[in-house]
Every structure is written in structure tokens, then in C-alpha cells.
């Protein structure tokens, strides 16, 4: 009996050990001759799910599917810059409250209809009217004027320097659907049968299992090499990883740094996005006078006590960087005058004593049980013990977190969250620290000082470098003067790409940005 047991247990231990090896250790590179290219089907795995394939129903988290099913007017390019796709160019005129878009010519939808000004106008209007972020993203568009077949002018009700970001980010605002398909089949049809201009045409969708796309020969950039693209949905990340290692999946977004490190150590290529996609922040309850965090010195003390290096080295080893603000070094809104709040325990203690909390105090740190937040939050709680602040963790699920985030004042203490950075941190500063916000991080608890608000309004009312400078000035107030928020880390998106996939550039700029029209598989 004992022998049988030993054999069973040994087998269980040995199977994974044998299974690990034997893979090629080649990074994806375009060093193959054209004749070695062949079509085939590229399989992209994901743990994401989608409930509708229409642009008007897509949310920020659906961008993975959007970028494979549709093409937008604008998108987020290298280092968070805004680059045109179906628009050839765009120009801003703050004085006349207009954005002018020159559209790309010779673009066809999968149903053979042309992409032109009329279609672009219809898409934006339809999105504003029925899109889930209709008022959030494009509510500022008052009317759309067609100048010629390939030029439209967006007339705004008030100037918004961040409109291009709203059009470029996930959520569907500028992804283009076929008007002809809509007119012929109706809105419900497009929820399950997207008709777009992308290099791969929709073929079928098995809910929660897969979406199959086939090559669109009349694609405006030229006929794709690949015959088809299949998006395989997995509900379990470990199974997806196993499928990738077995060669059944060519590309997948890796959400876990440890998994990415394991894959890289085993010779797989991990593409990190060119700019960070997420920022990890701590906000303070500043508006309640009975909360210690209403005193800026306490907020600063906490910032001096948080050891970001330690957090990044422990929690975000593979894809994280220490951060001091919502933009990485070299980013559009990066401000070198921001106080880095280098760890200084003595200074932190002195600030606490000055604020009347020499013996420390007990407070709450609320966060969500996802996005790798719990571990860094636990570390922060430990670090703050060093200056006498006893932190009680309140880790809640996503649904509760969103409610708390809206009306956070009652919870008090600190709040840890993740900010998505669609195109740098400028839009996040504007979206969270302006006054009279409908919803935002710490809407009821963060201070929204007049001077910060004024700079944000000036940034919104200007464009280009001028707008950037206003945001940078607002950042100095947010981080240095008021210490309203502590940004302690940033992470980049990670994509595992099989060595036989060439030129996909999947996940290079954002999580699902790609150049699949020129991608190919090698045998």
C-alpha cells in the first residue's frame, strides 16, 4: 500500500517538473525573409470577457477587444502620445472651440462601404447619444460639421484640451462602425456582428469562449499576411498560461509579474508597453477636520514614510517602477520639480509631532481586493508603523470600492487605488482635482483648492504646450503644496508573445495595441 502511495505522489510531483523544459528561447524579431512568412491563424488568449461587440457598449476594460475588432480615429501611441489612425491629422482651435479632423481616404468597411466624413459624423453622434461614456467622453461636442467628404469639424460647447485623449482611449468613443451595416441590420445586430475597417473581419463569436476573425483583403494598409485571428477566452489564468506554453495560444496579456518573470526565464518574449499603464496611489481624507489627514503635515509625514523602492522591489519586480507623479520620466506631463518624498523617517516623525501627533494615531486604509493592491497596501501599513501610525486595513471587493470611492468621506483615513493612464497623467489630474466633479477619486474627501482648479481650467481652455504647462503647475500644487495624493508605483502592461509570431507589436504601446495587419507566423 505504501509503495503504491509513493508512486502516485512521485508521479504528481514529476509531471510538472518534466513539463517545464524544452521550449525555444528566441525573442520575437522581424529577421525572417518574406518567403518564410505564411498565413495561418494567430491565436490570442485572454482572461477578459466581453458582453457586446458594439462600440457604444464597450467600456474601458473592453479595449482589448476594441483594438482587435475596430479602428479608431485616434489612438494612444508610443509613450502615451496621441496618434491618428483613421484620422489623417487633427488640429485644435481653442478660440473658435473647434477640432478639425482630416480623415483618411480609401478606407473601406468590411461590408464594402466607404469610410468618410458622413460615417465619422454619424459614429460620433451615435456614440454621444447611446454610448456608455457618451456624456463622459464626448459630451462636450455640441455639433459636427461636414466640410467635405474627408473633413469634419467638431464644435464644442466649451473648450476641452483633453478631448483627443477621450477619443483615443478605450471605451469606444472614436472607434468606427459601418453606418451601412447599422442602417441595414440595426443596432442589435452590431452588438454581435461588428462591421469595421480593421484588418480582420468578424466571422463568429461563441459567448465566453472565442471570437473568430478572418483576413480582410481590402484592408487600407494592404492585405494582411495572416489568414485569421482567433481570440480565445480563458477564465483561468493558469490554464491560459499552460495553453501558451503548449503552443495553442500565440499571444496573451500577462497580468501577474511573477508569471511574466517565469515565462521570461523560460525563454519566452515578454513585451512591456512603452509607457506605464497603471499608477498606484494613496489619497487622503482631507476634508474632515477631525481626521488627522486634514493637516498637510500629516499627509507629508506619510509620504516621507512610504518606501516606494521597497514596495516596487517586492510587489512589482518585473514590470514596476518607483513613481512620484502620474507621469514617468520623459512623459508629457512629467514635472521635475515634484518633491520625490524620499524616505526620511526622522523628518516624518518631526512633521507628525509638529501637527500634534507625536504619539501617532490609528487610521484606516481602504483598498480593493484586485489589481495587485492588497500586497503593497499591507507593506504601507507596516511602513507607517515606523512613524507611529497604526493602520487598519479595509480591503473590499470591487463593487463596494466604487461606492466608497464616490462617497469616501465617511470612511476617513487613506484610500489606495489604481489609476489607468490612457495617455499620461494629465487627464487624471484634470479628472480628479478640478472642482464640481460629478464623480472622481475622493470626490467628497480630497481638497479641490481654488488655485489647483484655476490651473486645471486654464489647461482645459488652452491647447498644446500651454495646456501641458498649466497641468504641470497644478501638479506642483497637488503633490508639493497640498500633498493631496502620493503616487508610489507605476506598472507597464505585459504581453507574452510566442517566438513564431513576427511583427505583431502586440502590447507595445497599450495593452492591446498591435500591428496585426503586417504580422505573420513563421513555421
Amino acid at each position: 500500500m505504501k509503495k503504491v502511495l509513493c508512486v502516485i505522489l512521485l508521479c504528481m510531483l514529476l509531471i510538472p517538473a518534466f513539463a517545464g523544459g524544452g521550449h525555444e528561447t528566441k525573442e520575437a524579431s522581424p529577421a525572417f525573409e518574406p518567403e518564410s512568412r505564411f498565413g495561418g491563424t494567430l491565436v490570442i488568449g485572454t482572461t477578459a470577457t466581453v458582453s457586446s461587440l458594439s462600440t457604444v457598449d464597450m467600456r474601458g476594460t473592453d479595449q482589448f477587444f476594441e483594438n482587435l475588432l475596430y479602428e479608431p480615429l485616434l489612438t494612444v501611441g508610443p509613450n502615451g502620445t496621441i496618434v491618428p489612425v483613421l484620422a489623417e491629422s487633427y488640429s485644435a482651435d481653442p478660440e473658435s472651440l473647434t477640432y478639425t479632423f482630416k480623415l483618411r481616404q480609401g478606407v473601406k468597411f468590411h461590408d464594402g462601404s466607404d469610410f468618410n466624413a458622413e460615417v465619422a459624423k454619424w459614429n460620433l453622434e451615435y456614440y454621444k447619444e447611446t454610448g456608455v461614456y457618451g456624456s463622459s467622453y464626448v459630451g462636450v461636442i455640441d455639433s459636427i460639421e461636414i466640410i467635405d467628404d474627408y473633413t469634419i469639424v467638431l464644435h464644442l460647447s466649451s473648450w476641452d484640451a483633453f478631448l483627443p485623449v477621450a477619443l483615443a482611449r478605450g471605451g469606444g468613443a472614436s472607434y468606427m462602425m459601418s453606418k451601412q451595416a447599422f442602417d441595414t441590420y440595426g443596432a442589435d445586430y452590431l452588438k454581435r456582428h461588428p462591421v469595421s475597417t480593421s484588418p480582420f473581419m468578424f466571422e463568429s463569436w461563441t459567448d465566453g469562449e472565442s471570437i473568430k476573425l478572418v483576413k480582410f483583403k481590402d484592408y487600407w494598409r494592404g492585405e494582411p499576411y495572416l489568414d485569421a485571428v482567433t481570440i480565445e477566452m480563458f477564465s483561468e489564468a493558469m490554464v491560459l498560461q499552460a495553453a501558451f506554453e503548449a503552443g495553442d495560444v500565440h499571444i496573451f496579456s500577462v497580468s501577474d509579474g511573477d508569471m511574466a518573470a517565469y515565462l521570461e526565464n523560460n525563454g519566452y518574449f515578454i513585451q512591456k508597453s512603452s509607457s506605464p499603464s497603471m499608477a498606484y496611489v494613496i489619497g487622503f481624507n482631507c476634508n474632515d477636520p477631525s481626521d488627522p489627514f486634514s493637516d498637510v503635515r500629516v499627509r507629508q509625514a506619510v509620504s516621507y514614510a512610504i518606501d516606494s523602492d521597497q514596495i516596487v522591489n517586492t510587489c512589482f519586480t518585473f514590470n514596476g517602477t518607483v513613481a512620484t507623479q502620474l507621469d514617468p520620466v520623459g512623459g508629457t506631463y512629467y514635472n521635475e520639480n515634484i518633491n520625490p518624498y524620499d524616505v526620511d523617517i526622522e523628518k516624518a516623525k518631526a512633521l507628525l509631532a509638529e501637527a500634534g501627533y507625536a504619539d501617532g494615531f490609528t487610521t484606516t486604509l481602504t483598498t480593493m481586493n484586485q489589481w495587485n493592491l492588497p500586497l503593497p497596501v499591507q507593506m504601507i501599513a507596516e511602513q507607517l508603523k515606523g512613524i507611529g501610525i497604526n493602520v487598519e486595513l479595509n480591503i473590499v471587493e470591487r463593487a463596494q470600492f466604487f461606492v466608497l470611492q464616490d462617497g469616501w468621506g465617511a470612511e476617513g483615513g487613506m484610500f489606495a487605488s489604481c489609476f489607468s493612464l490612457p495617455a499620461g497623467g494629465g487627464s487624471q489630474i484634470a479628472a480628479n482635482f478640478a472642482q464640481n466633479l460629478g464623480s472622481a477619486f475622493g470626490r467628497t474627501s480630497l481638497l479641490h483648492p481654488d488655485d489647483v482648479n484655476e490651473l486645471i481650467q486654464k489647461a482645459k481652455n488652452s491647447s498644446g504646450d500651454e495646456s501641458v504647462e498649466y497641468i504641470k503647475s497644478a501638479e506642483e500644487l497637488v503633490y508639493n503644496k497640498y500633498c493631496l495624493m502620493n503616487v508610489f508605483a507605476m506598472t507597464n502592461n505585459m504581453t507574452a508573445i510566442s517566438s513564431n509570431v513576427i511583427d505583431s507589436e502586440f502590447g507595445k504601446d497599450t495593452g492591446s495595441s498591435n500591428t496585426l495587419w503586417k504580422a505573420y507566423l513563421v513555421k
Binding site: 461614456y133 459630451g139 465566453g208 479628472a431
Partner: protein, 316 residues
């Protein structure tokens, strides 16, 4: 007997009503705003309010409850917040997948469990009994997700003889159905087999030691007849109750098995809907799962009443 049946039916109706109340109010008590979850934290208040109005989420809770429960009787189960489609349509799409995995698992588990339990009891103390007891203890103690992932690794990744994930129904061809369902059915039935084996073994041991079995043996009735005709028949009554309780898995699915093998059934739908606070899906699914479970128990109770008049007379 009629009085007994009417009483059981009335009790069942009360249970179903109470489940509907609990399912509705528990979901609404849970902290979290479904609209905020669906739209994300960057949506404007206007967008959030517009969707709340569209879904009647600003109506008083009582009126929302009556709207939903009256809809149940007219076939209008409300709209899924996540999918923006009728909840009934989504549930009816998912149900066949869950049933086509759950039903074979239950049948296999029942047959295998009863056979193992009987053999184990009859051969009490033998090596076979020890092996079967060990296996059932291991099955009960080993996490299903671990077994599932191990099976995928061995059969799909290494041996490559079975698919890694997904679902093919019997209508896609029996061979395909068999290939796709063998691992999830095995995983799902493992716990059930263990439970039924243990239950059967315990009951059989109780029955085998009873005087009437000894008398039957003393009267020279063959061992086979004693076991199958006299002992097993009586030992199976509690086992059938246990099997009836497992019917909820056939309808409600196993969240873990569906998650690992990517089967888009009711289990996955429920899990996702609870996280997304998709009220209509959760309420309606829970309502129907409870309805089927209560119905199965009702049938079992009534059968007990027929088989054992003592139960009928006691009124319960």
C-alpha cells in the same frame, strides 16, 4: 396521503417564496452599485443616472421586487445589467451547458458511488475497502481546482489527447461532446462519488448488522439476494436524499469546474453576476435553482411517504 402531499407542496411553496425574498434583498443589501461597476469609476453622473433610470434601479425596493416576481410568472425576468439583454435569454443559453455536464456527472457519481459504497461495506476491513475509503477521503480532501488543473496539464498539455477548455454539446456530435466533457464531468463527479460512497458504506454497514439481515442469512437466502434485495434497498433511502440534493449542481453548475474548463454555464454566470451585482441574473438563477431543488426534495419526500407510512403519519 393527499393531506400529506398538500402539506408538503405548501411548505415547498413557502420555501420558494422565502428564497425569492432572500435572493432579492440579499443582493440589494450587498454594498456596491451595479451601474458604477458596469460603467467604471470614470463615467459621469449623467451617464450613471441615465442607466439607473433605464433599469428602474431608482424605484423603491419593494416595487422592484414585485416587478421582478410578477415578471417571473409572465416570463419577463428583467434585463441583465452586464449584458443589457433579457436575463431569461442569457440563463436559457447557459443552462443546457451546465446540465449537459452536471447530469452525466450526477448519474456516474450515483452509480459509481453506490457500487463503491456497497462493495466497501460488504468487504469491510479488506484491502479493497481500505483502498476505496482512502480514494474517497482523498477525493473529498483534494481541491477540485487542483485536480482540474492537473488533469488539464496531463491530458491537454502533455499528452494532447483532450482539449484544454471549452464546450461542445451533444448536438455538435457525440464524439466531440465526449472529448470536451470527459474532464469536467470527471472533476465534477469526483466529490459526488466520494460523498455517495461514504454515505452508502455507512448505511450499508448499519443495515447489514441489523437483525433481519442476520435472520435472512440464517434462513439460507443467498448472500447476493441478502445484499441487493434486503440490505441495499433499505440503505439507499438516505443516499437518494443526498443524490436529490446534488440536483442543484446539475442546474446551478459548479463554479470551480466551469471556471477551470471555461464552460460558460450557470455557475460561471452566477459568479460573474454576483461580482457585477447583476441583480436580475442572480435573483432569477437562484430562484430557479431553488425551485428545482425544492421540487426534487418534494418528490423524494412524497416517495418516502409512499414507501414508509410512518413518515406520512408523523406529518413530516
Amino acid at each position: 396521503m393527499v393531506k400529506f402531499i398538500i402539506k408538503r407542496i405548501l411548505i415547498s411553496l413557502v420555501i420558494v417564496f422565502m428564497v425569492s425574498v432572500f435572493a432579492f434583498f440579499l443582493m440589494h443589501i450587498l454594498p456596491g452599485d451595479p451601474v458604477r461597476i458596469v460603467l467604471g469609476d470614470e463615467a459621469s453622473v449623467e451617464d450613471v443616472n441615465a442607466l439607473r433610470e433605464e433599469l428602474h434601479l431608482n424605484d423603491p425596493l419593494i416595487s422592484q421586487y414585485f416587478k421582478w416576481i410578477s415578471g417571473i410568472f409572465t416570463g419577463d425576468y428583467g434585463t441583465s445589467i452586464t449584458y443589457m439583454r433579457p436575463a431569461g435569454e442569457i440563463i436559457s443559453e447557459r443552462l443546457p451547458k451546465t446540465v449537459s455536464i452536471g447530469l452525466p456527472a450526477l448519474i456516474i457519481a450515483s452509480v459509481v458511488g453506490i457500487v463503491f459504497g456497497t462493495v466497501s461495506a460488504v468487504r469491510r476491513g479488506s484491502k479493497l475497502d481500505s483502498a476505496l475509503t482512502l480514494l474517497s477521503t482523498l477525493s473529498l480532501g483534494t481541491p477540485t481546482f487542483w485536480i482540474g488543473i492537473l488533469l488539464i496539464y496531463v491530458f491537454a498539455v502533455e499528452l494532447r489527447i483532450l482539449p484544454m477548455k471549452g464546450y461542445m454539446g451533444p448536438s455538435d456530435g457525440l464524439l466531440q461532446y465526449f472529448k470536451y466533457s470527459i474532464l469536467p464531468v470527471f472533476c465534477l463527479s469526483l466529490n459526488m462519488v466520494a460523498g455517495i460512497t461514504r454515505q452508502t458504506r455507512t448505511n450499508m454497514l448499519d443495515v447489514i448488522n441489523q437483525d433481519y439481515i442476520r435472520t435472512a442469512r440464517a434462513n439460507g437466502i443467498s448472500e447476493k439476494k441478502v445484499i441487493f434485495k434486503h440490505a441495499l434497498k433499505n440503505a439507499l433511502i438516505p443516499v437518494i436524499t443526498q443524490i436529490a440534493l446534488q440536483v442543484r449542481v446539475v442546474i446551478g453548475g459548479s463554479v470551480i469546474v466551469e471556471q477551470i474548463f471555461n464552460i460558460n454555464g450557470i455557475g460561471m454566470l452566477l459568479r460573474e453576476s454576483i461580482f457585477n451585482r447583476d441583480y436580475m441574473i442572480v435573483q432569477t438563477s437562484v430562484f430557479f435553482i431553488s425551485l428545482v431543488t425544492v421540487f426534487c426534495n418534494l418528490v423524494v419526500d412524497i416517495l418516502y411517504g409512499f414507501v414508509n407510512p410512518q413518515i406520512r403519519k408523523s406529518g413530516w
